[in-house]
Structure formats: structure tokens, C-alpha cells
């Protein structure tokens, strides 16, 4: 039977959450720069 490491799931979630926050921040800067 396979068991999944709960730490890797947590690291994966934290990683993607941080990535999304980063992407949102860059997108915000882009919008601010393009605002006339």
C-alpha cells in the first residue's frame, strides 16, 4: 500500500500559494504601470 508524505503535500500547497501571491503581485505592478 502506498502512503503519501504529509510534509510533501504541505510543501506543495505552500509552494503553489506563494507562487500565486507572487504572480498576483507582478500582475498588480503591471496594471499600475499601464494605468494612464
Amino acid at each position: 500500500m502506498k502512503s503519501h508524505d504529509p510534509h510533501s503535500h504541505r510543501a506543495e500547497l505552500i509552494g503553489w500559494a506563494a507562487f500565486l501571491v507572487f504572480v498576483a503581485a507582478v500582475f498588480g505592478i503591471r496594471r499600475a504601470l499601464d494605468r494612464r
Binding site: 503519501h4 508524505d5 510533501s8 503535500h9 510543501a11 506543495e12 505552500i14 509552494g15 503553489w16 507562487f19 507572487f22 504572480v23 507582478v26 500582475f27 505592478i29 503591471r30 504601470l33 499601464d34
Partner: protein
């Protein structure tokens, strides 16, 4: 003046690979670090030689925003350096370095250089060329990386390679400036989906959930990207009545 600015940008891009080489040596040893340094620096020098030719042919001046656009090529060069190092560990330092380079090149640089150029009034035909070619080059290198140490099947490289093959075919009939003049609105989201797939495949923190999503998305995203590449080529021919 063009040469002076180009030399300055060359120096900056080459200098950026030095701390990465030192860290590679610490984590993966002197042989891997030496191969990384050789691969990344050769890639930067080759890119800058092409940029120098393009700039002098157009008698264009390279500005600060162009330097930012060219740093996307440096991100691709760092990925090529990881290729050359022979380290194939997605979760190790080399994996993190490659992934961080990809995120910088495809998100920070790609999303901000255009708005910055518009805001500073620094848009130019050379800048548009560097943006388009930098994007395509980073996509090809990332696809190759995602296949080599991200576990994606080899056919994921076909669409980024086909872009260059079709560009060469198109340029036998029409000038470069006309090939992508009428790019359809769906091309960008398709490109984003492809880059997101590569980003997920190379994510050093990716575990079972990420691998499952990547496995399910690959047979959809990769063929659609190839189809899109072919349709963009056909569109460029149709627009000109060829």
C-alpha cells in the same frame, strides 16, 4: 554608442551568472559548476552576438528596458547552464535555480518590460523584436528542460521547435516584421497555458497533486500549442494573400 551599451549589458548579464556558478559549486561540486558556467556564459555570448548584429543593422540604441528584455535571455542561459551541468534533480539547488530563472523570465520580465517601455516612452521596433524572440527562446529552452528533468514527454518540444521551422519557411516569402503582425487574440492564453505546464513540471516543490495535473494536462496543452503555431503561420500567409 551601440557597442558601448551592448558591452555594458553583456557585462551585467555575464556577472549575473557568477553567483549562480558559486552556488552550483557549493551544492553540486566543481565539475558540475564548471560545466554550468561554460554553458550559461556561452549561451549569453551567443545571444548578445545576435543582438549586436540586429542592433547595428537597424542602427538602434539599446536602452535600460531593452536590457531588462535581454535578461530574459540570461534566464534561458541559466537554464541551459543547468542542462550543461548534467545535474538532473528537480528538487535540488540546480532545480530551484532553473525554476527561479524560468519564473523571472516568463513572468517578471515578460509581464513588466512592455508596460515599462510604454510608460518611459522607450518602445522601439528593436525592443519588440527582442521581446518576441526572447519569449520564443525561453519557451524552447524551458520545454527542453521540462522534458529533461521535469518528466514531460519528448513531444512537448515539438511546438516550440515548430515555431522556428515555420518562421524560417515564412521568411522565405515575407519579411520578418510581417510574420507576426496579425497575431490572433487566442495566441497569448495558449502560450500562457503552455508556460504554466512547464512551470508546474519543473516546480521543485511539486508532489503527487502537481504530477497528476501535469500528467492530465500534457496531452491537451502540447497538441493545442502545436495546432496554434501552425494556425498562426497559415494566418500570416493568408493575410498577405499567399
Amino acid at each position: 554608442m551601440v557597442v558601448g551599451r551592448l558591452a555594458l549589458i553583456n557585462f551585467g548579464l555575464l556577472a549575473a551568472s557568477v553567483p549562480a556558478t558559486i552556488a552550483m559549486r557549493r551544492h553540486h561540486g566543481p565539475i558540475a559548476a564548471g560545466r554550468f558556467a561554460a554553458g550559461s556564459m556561452l549561451a549569453i555570448l551567443a545571444q548578445q552576438a545576435l543582438v549586436g548584429m540586429a542592433a547595428s543593422r537597424r542602427e538602434a540604441r539599446l536602452g535600460a528596458v531593452d536590457a531588462m528584455t535581454l535578461s530574459r535571455g540570461a534566464a534561458a542561459a541559466l537554464l541551459l547552464g543547468v542542462h550543461a551541468s548534467g545535474v538532473r534533480c528537480r528538487t535540488g539547488f540546480a532545480g530551484w535555480l532553473g525554476w527561479a530563472s524560468l519564473v523571472y523570465g516568463s513572468i517578471v520580465c515578460d509581464w513588466l518590460d512592455g508596460p515599462l517601455a510604454r510608460r518611459l516612452g522607450a518602445t522601439s521596433p528593436l525592443g519588440a523584436l527582442l521581446d518576441l524572440e526572447g519569449d520564443s527562446w525561453l519557451t524552447l529552452v524551458t520545454a527542453s528542460s521540462a522534458v529533461t528533468w521535469g518528466g514531460l514527454p519528448g513531444y512537448c518540444v515539438v511546438a516550440p521547435l515548430a515555431r522556428y521551422a515555420l518562421l524560417l519557411v515564412a521568411m522565405r516569402r515575407i519579411p520578418y516584421e510581417r510574420v507576426y503582425v496579425d497575431e490572433p487574440a487566442w495566441a497569448r492564453p495558449l502560450g500562457i497555458a503552455q508556460m504554466l505546464l512547464f512551470t508546474a513540471a519543473l516546480a521543485p516543490f511539486g508532489a503527487t497533486g502537481t504530477r497528476l495535473v501535469v500528467r492530465l494536462a500534457t496531452p491537451i496543452v502540447a497538441p493545442f500549442q502545436l495546432l496554434g503555431t501552425v494556425l498562426i503561420y497559415r494566418r500570416s500567409q493568408r493575410v498577405l494573400g499567399i
